[in-house]
Symmetry: C2
Subunit: 299 residues, 2 copies
DNA sequence: CATTTTGCCTGACTTATGTCAGATGAATTC
DNA sequence: GAATTCATCTGACATAAGTCAGGCAAAATG
C-alpha cells in the first residue's frame, strides 16, 4: 500500500494529543483519590478485583517492588478489604482475594470508571467515530502488549471476532455469504486435543483471531483468520498465524492447509510470504478459490 | 443528524482506551525522568521555555502551591537553568527566564517529545488515520480548554484554518472554487480597529476560525467561519460566532451581515438559531446565494 | 540431609510532592 | 503615613512512593 507522507504539522498534532491525554489521565487519577485511598493501594485493589490472586503476578503487572507491594497489601488488609492465605500447592506463595467489603469497594471503583467512560461518550456528537478513534489509538499504543490467548471458540471474545469476520466476508465477497453454507466445523474441532482457537487480546479487547481445525485426514486447517480494522498493519495477522503453527506443533500436527478467496489479497500475500505453497483445490466448499499448504517441522 | 446508539461494548472500549493511554502517559513521564530531574521541576522548566515568565501565571497553569513553586524554582536556579528578577512594573512580582544552559536543556526536552511523537507515527501503517483519530480525541477531551484568541489573519494558525476552509469549500460547492475570484479582503479589514480575526485554539492546535470584516458601509461582515472536522458537533461554531459578535460590540459595530451558500446547511441552521434574519442579496459575489443580517445591542 | 533458591516480609532510608502558618518586602488604600 | 493587601519566600510537617539490605520459611537441588 502507498503510505502518504505525514503532514508537516504531524509531530505538533501528536504532541497536542499527548498534552490532552496527560490532562485526562490526571483527572482520571485524581477522581480515584476521592475514595480516600492513595493511588497505589487503589491500583492493587483493582488488580485483585480483576481476578489476579497470585501476589507475584500482581507485582509484575503493576511493576512494584516486593517491599512496597507488601506494605500496600497490609494497608488493604487493615482496611478489611482483602484477605491473604498461603497457596495450597506452594506455601511460599501467597494468594489474595477480596472480602465482601473489598468487593463492594472494587465495584465502586468500577462504577466510577464506567461513569467516566459513559460521560466522555455521552457528550460527543458521534460516539461511533470516537470509539473507532479510541480503538485505533489503543491498538497502536498497546501494540506490544497485545497477547495471544487460546480460548473456547464459543467464548464471548471469540464470538465478537467471528461476528465481525463474517460481516466483513459478506461485505467483501462478490456473492452474498451465508455462514451455514460454508461447512461450519463444530467448536470441538477447534479445541484441544483436535485443534485450537486463538484470540489476540489488547487490554481486554479482542483484536483478532485464528482457528486451527483438526481433521481426521492427516492435516489441520487454518480457519477464520481475522484482524480488527483498527489493528491492521501492525503485524497481528502474522503473529496469529505463528501462534496457530506453534499450537499445531504442540498438538503433533505436521501438515496444515487453508482455503481462501482471491478477493482477500492481503491474506494471500501473507501466506506466500510465510512459507505456504499454493496447491490444488482440496475441498468442494463453494466460496474459496485459492488453496495453500504448509508442512511443519516436527516439534 | 441521526446519532446511532453506542454499541453494547462501548464503555468497555473507552475503558480499554483509558488503560492504554494511562500506560502511554506513564512511559512518557518516565522518559522525562531520564534527564535526572524530578517531573515537577521539568514541568516548571517547560512552562518557562514555552514563554511563560510571570511566576503567578506559571503557578496557576501548573496548579502548584506557592511554596512548592518557590522551591522548584530555586532548584532550577541552583542548576543554573533559570534566572529570576523582580518585575519592572510591580516589584512584588517576579519574572523568570531561561539562561543559555536552561534554553539548551529545554531544547533537549523538546527534542525528546518530538522524537516520541515521531516514533509513534513512524511505526504505524497509516499515520494519517492515526492523526485524525488523535485530533478527534484531543478535541473531545480538550473541549472545555479550547480558547478563542484574536489574532492576525496572516499568522500561521490563521493560515492553517483558512487553507482548510478553502479546501473544504472547493470540495463542497458545486462549481469549482477560486479564492482570487471571491472578493478577498485585505487583512487590515479583519484587524482592529476595523474588525477582528478569531481562532479557536486547543492545546496549541487551531480548530476553527471566524473573521469579522469591517466595511465603510455601516455594517461589518462575518467571513470564513470554519471548524475542523475533528471538532464538529462540540458547539465551537456557536462559540466563534459569539466571540465575533462580542468583538463587534467592542468595536462599536451595530449591524452584522454575512453571505453563505445553500450547500452549507449546518451553517445556515446555526445562523437561524442564533438570531440572524435572512435578507436580500447585498453584494454581487458569485458564490453565495443566501444572505443574513443581525442587529446587535449596543455595548 | 545440607545447601541453595524462591517468595514474601520487615526495617531503615530516600526522594518527590504537597500543605500550612507565618515572614518579608512592595504596592495600594484610607 | 499608617494600615491593609498582595506576591513571594521560608521553615516545619506530612504523605506517597520507591529502594535496599537482610530475615524467614518453604521448596527445590544436589
Amino acid at each position: 500500500m502507498p503510505v502518504p507522507p505525514p503532514p508537516p504539522d504531524a509531530v505538533a498534532r501528536v504532541r497536542r494529543f499527548n498534552r490532552a491525554i496527560t490532562r485526562a489521565v490526571g483527572a482520571l487519577n485524581t477522581s480515584f483519590l476521592d475514595r480516600g485511598r492513595p493511588l497505589g493501594a487503589a491500583r492493587v485493589l483493582n488488580a485483585i478485583g480483576q481476578g489476579r490472586s497470585d501476589l507475584g503476578e500482581i507485582r509484575a503487572y503493576l511493576g512494584l517492588d516486593s517491599g512496597l507491594m507488601s506494605r500496600l497489601l497490609r494497608g488493604l488488609e487493615a482496611e478489611g478489604l482483602v484477605a491473604t492465605a498461603a497457596d495450597a500447592q506452594d506455601s511460599r506463595r501467597r494468594v489474595v482475594h477480596l472480602t465482601p467489603a473489598g468487593a463492594a469497594e472494587f465495584a465502586e471503583y468500577e462504577r466510577l470508571s464506567d461513569a467516566q467512560a459513559a460521560g466522555i461518550l455521552a457528550t460527543h456528537p458521534d460516539p461511533g467515530a470516537l470509539l473507532a478513534a479510541m480503538d485505533l489509538i489503543g491498538s497502536a499504543l498497546g501494540r506490544d502488549r497485545t497477547t495471544l490467548e487460546v480460548c473456547d471458540p464459543r467464548s464471548p471474545e471469540a464470538l465478537r471476532c467471528l461476528q465481525a469476520y463474517y460481516a466483513e466476508l459478506a461485505a467483501r465477497l462478490p456473492h452474498s455469504f451465508d455462514v451455514s453454507l460454508s461447512c461450519d466445523p463444530q467448536a470441538e474441532a477447534m479445541m484441544a486435543p483436535h485443534g485450537a482457537f486463538i484470540v489476540a487480546m489488547s487490554d481486554g479487547l479482542a483484536l483478532g483471531c485464528v482457528g486451527l481445525k483438526g481433521t481426521d485426514a492427516g492435516y489441520a486447517e487454518i480457519k477464520r483468520l481475522w484482524v480488527a480494522p483498527a489493528a491492521r498493519g501492525l503485524g497481528l495477522a502474522r503473529r496469529l498465524m505463528d501462534g496457530a503453527e506453534a499450537a499445531a506443533q504442540g498438538l503433533g500436527i505436521a501438515l496444515l492447509r487453508l482455503d481462501t478467496n482471491s478477493a482477500l489479497p492481503e491474506a494471500i500475500a501473507l501466506y506466500r510470504a510465510t512459507g505456504w505453497t499454493e496447491i490444488a483445490r482440496f475441498n468442494d466448499d463453494p466460496y474459496p478459490d485459492v488453496f495453500f499448504e504448509k508442512r511443519l517441522a516436527q516439534a
